[in-house]
């Protein structure tokens, strides 16, 4: 999961090559990699790639601060997803 997300962010969202390679704990918000628009791009990607829906109330900085926090957020969603698929 970390690799998929890191690859997407590195290839699609990082505009300044100096910020690469991206560490799992690197801050995505303070570095400007994620702004209000790239966050929406990322969410659309996550929804499609992991077949989930990301609720508006989940779009908090703490969930999208780094690759690690994104993965923690997605893992916390796993039981929900399994329940939905019965």
């Amino acid at each position: 999961m970390e690799t998929i997300i890191k690859d997407y962010i590195s290839q699609e969202l990082v505009r300044d090559p100096e910020l690469l390679p991206l560490a799992d704990e690197a801050s995505l918000l303070d570095s400007g990699i994620l702004d209000s628009l790239s966050l929406l791009q990322l969410v659309v990607f996550l929804e499609e790639r992991f077949a989930i829906t990301v609720g508006d109330a989940d779009l908090l900085p703490e969930n999208f601060a780094s690759v690690n926090t994104i993965c923690a957020y997605l893992r916390a969603r796993e039981p929900e997803k399994q329940a939905a698929h019965g």
């Binding site: 209000s36 929406l40 791009q41 508006d56 908090l60």
Partner: protein
């Protein structure tokens, strides 16, 4: 893909149009001229259930699904010529009520939603500042935490409903938390000490929708009035803008249908050169273009409403629906005047008002240029 409306949706939309025609158009020319907010019509809308449409039943609303809500707002746009009233209603529904439904605590929902739904209180969404319009998130308003309160200071402008509002959703940056992690939103009582609201701007259109400036000076707000956690401001703002872009413009679709009906009727009855003007291809072609714009806007809005109902993020679809519908409304409003000739240009006909009202739709909820910026980014550019 099923494009048919259910019997319930048909009934509801017919009732909404009939209600709007009967109760929402009174004295419109006079109110438009005077820039007067129709409080009685606002209450009538609440009684009909408009403000409660997107609010879940357990919170006092009708709990309608997103598409049905959009259909009702379209039906109101068709029956109600007071675009200002509909804009004020939409502004409250999508950027005050929905944030409360999505981000509010049970106590916040209980405190505000019943009043907003019943029409007893009115809400405003206060983001834009003198220095920050399109670049909304870099705001200057500040919130300083003092124990179980915040002290809010800042200035907002162009805020719909502000002069008649009871509650404001006010965005500010929490001191000591830089950037997006500090951007937060607060429910502020419009009559609290430290709140000053001024109105009276003479607008080109939407004149029955009050707009004002807000100045907060050391305004003490209880911490329990913060909506969502500290740092939730961007999520709340993005969410309400996506809802506005998806649903607010359903009313514009209704207005475009009303314009087209009026144009067809006029083109069939007005005679020049010994025949109805609708027989001239140049006039007929204009009306055909109005029809195409209407249908395309409708499909974009219905699709994004459907996506929202599935709980999906739809930033590109919402931006496309907003961009296309607002620009289509302006174009149709111009065509409607042109098709009516000099009569369309007179205030008495009530046709020019739509153009004055429509132009604002390319500015609020993010300008047309900003929708293109969003779309370009979503396309990976």
């Amino acid at each position: 893909m099923d494009f048919s409306l259910s019997a319930q949706q048909r009934e509801l939309t017919e009732a909404a149009t009939a209600f709007a025609r009967k109760e929402l158009n009174q004295d419109l020319a006079k109110r438009d001229e005077a820039g007067e907010f129709p409080r009685d019509a606002w209450r009538a809308c609440a009684k009909f259930g408009v403000q409660g449409l997107p609010v879940p039943a357990e919170l006092g609303g009708a709990g309608c699904d997103v598409l049905t809500t959009a259909l009702v707002m379209e039906a109101l746009g068709y029956g109600c010529q007071d675009n200002g009233l509909l804009f004020s209603l939409n502004a409250q529904m999508w950027s005050v009520e929905l944030p409360l439904v999505i981000f509010g605590t049970a106590a916040q929902q209980q405190a505000y939603l019943p009043g907003l739904v019943s029409g007893d209180i009115i809400g405003g969404h206060a983001m834009t500042e003198p220095g920050t319009g399109s670049d909304a998130l870099h705001l200057r308003s500040r919130a300083e935490r003092h124990g179980d309160h915040y002290l809010l200071t800042g200035a907002k402008q162009y805020i719909t409903n502000a002069p008649v509002a009871d509650v404001l959703l006010f965005y500010a940056q929490v001191a000591d938390r830089p950037g997006l992690t500090g951007l937060s939103a607060f429910l502020v009582d419009a009559r609290a000490p430290g709140v000053e609201i001024t109105g009276g701007w003479d607008k080109m259109g939407l004149r029955t929708s009050p707009m004002g400036e807000i100045a907060l000076t050391d305004c003490l707000v209880p911490a329990e009035n913060r909506l969502g956690p500290e740092g939730a401001g961007m999520a709340i703002f993005n969410s309400s803008m996506e809802w506005e872009r998806s649903c607010l413009f359903a009313s514009a679709v209704g207005a475009m249908r009303r314009q087209l009906d009026a144009c067809v009727e006029y083109a069939n009855s007005r005679q020049q050169f010994g025949q109805p003007i609708g027989k001239f291809q140049a006039v007929a072609g204009k009306l055909a273009d109005m029809y195409v714009r209407l249908e395309a806007a409708k499909l974009l809005i219905y699709r994004v409403a459907w996506l929202k109902q599935q709980g999906k993020s739809a930033p590109a679809e919402a931006a496309a629906a907003k961009l296309f519908t607002s620009e289509a409304w302006v174009a149709s409003s111009r065509d409607a005047i042109q098709a009516h000739g000099a009569w369309g240009y007179l205030k008495e006909a009530g046709i020019e008002r739509d153009l004055r009202d429509a132009i604002a739709s390319t500015i609020y909820s993010g300008t047309s240029e900003i929708q293109r910026v969003i779309l370009a980014r979503m396309l990976g550019l």
